[in-house]
């Protein structure tokens, strides 16, 4: 029972963490809560659906339900969603930033999120899609602890992406610049850092990682227009839990929220999943608004 909760929680928590990285970066860098972040996951999942469909069927890899076309689709979808996130900034947010009121940006992102989700619903309809009709093989990891091969591969891929993101931030000049702008935008600008470039990188990376989360969610659950919207509260909860602006915080926050949700399902029922993230987030905001990792204070 406990083992099952852990494995389920960690898998969904890794996806939440991936999506929350972009949220915490834009929130820390641009000082606004982007309600459209969840829709990047939805669009990523549907991009992958289209591309994998176009690449055609290939034999599934080993015990998995999907083959190389979906892996290729994952990469292309991450690129396309990165462009989508960047263009949303170019068309909408960047211009509004010039007016200077951060709250207007939040309203705009709320509108953008509904528009993006409704566009998907218009194009694909409300019914769910699956990347594969195959039945996922269940492996027994330990007594009372089962996972599908899909779940484990997705978890591994998510951890690889997180590690890559961490190395990028910690070791590369771009990562240093991003951390500097997040810490103190004015000082960073004085030090000759190109803030526009940093903002662009933030949207591209955040969009790509959210797309990966969406594809992974599509592999393990299903592809639906509301998938990103339902991810939104967990994303915010993870970002706030880990401390706004902190990438490792978002990853750990995602895992905590994922496990909390999985633990709450046998207690409160699956229908209250979204409420669990909300309650954890509220408690965190009231008790320790800086987050576990001491990001920016609420």
């Amino acid at each position: 029972m406990i083992g099952q909760i852990l494995i389920d929680g960690i898998t969904s928590g890794a996806m939440i963490g991936l999506g929350a990285i972009g949220l915490t970066l834009t929130c820390g860098l641009l000082r606004f809560a982007n309600f459209a972040q969840g829709e990047f996951a939805t669009w990523g999942a549907y991009f992958a659906l289209l591309i994998a469909g176009a690449l055609g069927g290939a034999a599934p890899l080993g015990p998995l339900t999907f083959g190389w076309p979906l892996l290729a689709a994952l990469l292309i979808s991450m690129g396309l969603t990165a462009l989508l996130a960047w263009s949303l900034d170019a068309v909408l947010f960047r211009r509004l930033r010039r007016h200077g009121n951060a709250i207007v940006l939040v309203i705009a992102s709320f509108g953008a999120s509904l528009a993006l989700r409704s566009a998907v619903e218009f194009l694909f309809g409300p019914e769910p899609y699956y990347y594969s009709r195959d039945i996922a093989m269940t492996l027994r990891l330990a007594p009372g602890m089962r996972a599908t091969a899909d779940q484990l591969v997705v978890l591994a891929l998510a951890l690889v992406l997180m590690l890559a993101m961490h190395l990028l931030l910690a070791r590369t000049p771009l990562g240093r610049a991003m951390r500097a702008v997040s810490e103190n935008p004015d000082l960073a600008r004085l030090a000759g850092i190109d803030a526009a470039r940093v903002v662009r990188a933030t949207w591209l990376l955040g969009g790509a990682l959210a797309a990966a989360a969406g594809v992974f969610l599509g592999v393990t659950v299903q592809v639906r227009p509301a998938m990103g919207f339902e991810l939104l509260l967990p994303l915010f909860a993870a970002a706030i839990l880990g401390g706004i602006g902190s990438v490792p915080g978002a990853m750990v926050g995602g895992l905590v929220i994922g496990i909390a949700e999985a633990a709450a399902v046998p207690l409160a029922g699956a229908q209250y999943r979204a409420a669990v993230a909300f309650v954890v987030m509220l408690a965190m905001l009231l008790v320790r608004p800086r987050g576990l990792f001491g990001g920016r204070a609420a």
Binding site: F110, G111, A115, S118, E121, F122
Partner: protein, 318 residues
């Protein structure tokens, strides 16, 4: 002709009920700068409260006290105010975008409760047979529509006049002062937390009233009415009309509701058969584009906030 007229009456009635919610949001956001993204939650609380109080007893849901509609609307305002007092006491001290996230989360949670607590709310099927005002006139559509419109107009006018008085009173000035510069207002001895909570609660009561009006005019409610799209509609109404201006809030409500209704009709006419079922989704995209365009091109809305100074200063020619 009678059909068109009674339809116009119904259209205006619904538009005015949205207007009441927009007025409430305008007090919270336009005057006090409180970023409430849980409008749908408060409207839902009001709608369910009114339904419980005024509907006839039914096995499918709780309540059913068959009380007069006026009592139902009063109860709706009280219920929404109570819920807002609890949510506000916990969240109003948070920074604006965190307030947005938490009110959003509260509305999502309330909607989940409405779906799941079947014994109270009737679950996903909602509550039907909510009595409509002036049901005695129901066999004469035009008189029925006109009477309902008059009722909606009277309630809206009362809310509008009350808010105009409130926002021009010293209390309203303190709200705006807190919005502009909290430290300065606090240094003059104004308690920010108390004023904010009052504005939040009064605004939520109006949003709850709007939910109750719609429940009564439609005669039916379900959890699906209180999704974030509702919040979005009211926000677009306020932004398009002009935040900080009660006239703007009402104008925005009527204009956006007209746009919403017309775009629905237009899409039904223009889209080929297969796509029609999905037309509702395209409508949300269109309204989203209107919001973005307004924010970019005319951030003050159709009629924005007027610069207000004390009338003594104005009389002195200052």
């Amino acid at each position: 002709m009678t059909g068109l007229l009674s339809y116009l009456c119904f259209f205006a009635t619904v538009a005015l009920s949205y207007g009441v919610a927009t007025l409430g949001l305008n007090l919270q956001w336009g005057s006090a700068g409180l970023f409430n993204v849980g409008v749908a939650g408060f409207a839902g609380v009001g709608a369910y409260a009114a339904a419980w109080i005024t509907a006839a007893p039914a096995a499918a849901h709780w309540g059913g006290f068959a009380a007069p509609i006026a009592l139902g609307w009063l109860g709706a305002m009280l219920a929404a105010a109570l819920v807002a007092a609890v949510i506000g006491a916990v969240t109003l001290r948070l920074r604006a975008d965190y307030l947005a996230i938490t009110t959003f989360g509260a509305a999502v949670t309330l909607q989940l409760l409405a779906l799941d607590l079947t014994a109270l709310t009737g679950g996903p099927f909602g509550i039907a047979f909510i009595p409509k005002p002036f049901e005695a006139l129901a066999d004469r559509p035009l008189a029925f529509g006109a009477a309902n419109l008059a009722l909606a107009a009277a309630v809206t006018a009362a809310a509008f006049l009350a808010l105009e008085r409130l926002t021009q009173s010293p209390w309203g000035r303190v709200l705006r002062a807190l919005r502009e510069d909290e430290a300065a207002a606090a240094s003059l001895g104004k308690a920010p937390a108390r004023f904010r909570l009052q504005a939040f609660v009064i605004g939520a009561a109006l949003i709850g009233l709007s939910g109750a009006m719609q429940a009564q005019f439609f005669g039916f409610i379900a959890p699906d009415n209180y999704l974030p799209v509702f919040t979005f509609q009211v926000w677009v109404m306020l932004v398009v009309g002009g935040a900080g201006n009660n006239r703007g809030a009402l104008l925005g409500a009527v204009a956006v509701w007209a746009l919403w209704t017309l775009s629905g009709t237009a899409l039904a006419l223009l889209l080929p058969g297969f796509w029609q079922a999905r037309g509702a989704a395209l409508r949300v995209v269109a309204i989203g584009v209107v919001l973005a365009a307004t924010l970019l091109a005319r951030p003050r809305g159709l009629i924005g906030e007027r610069a207000t100074v004390s009338r003594h200063v104005a009389q002195a020619g200052g």
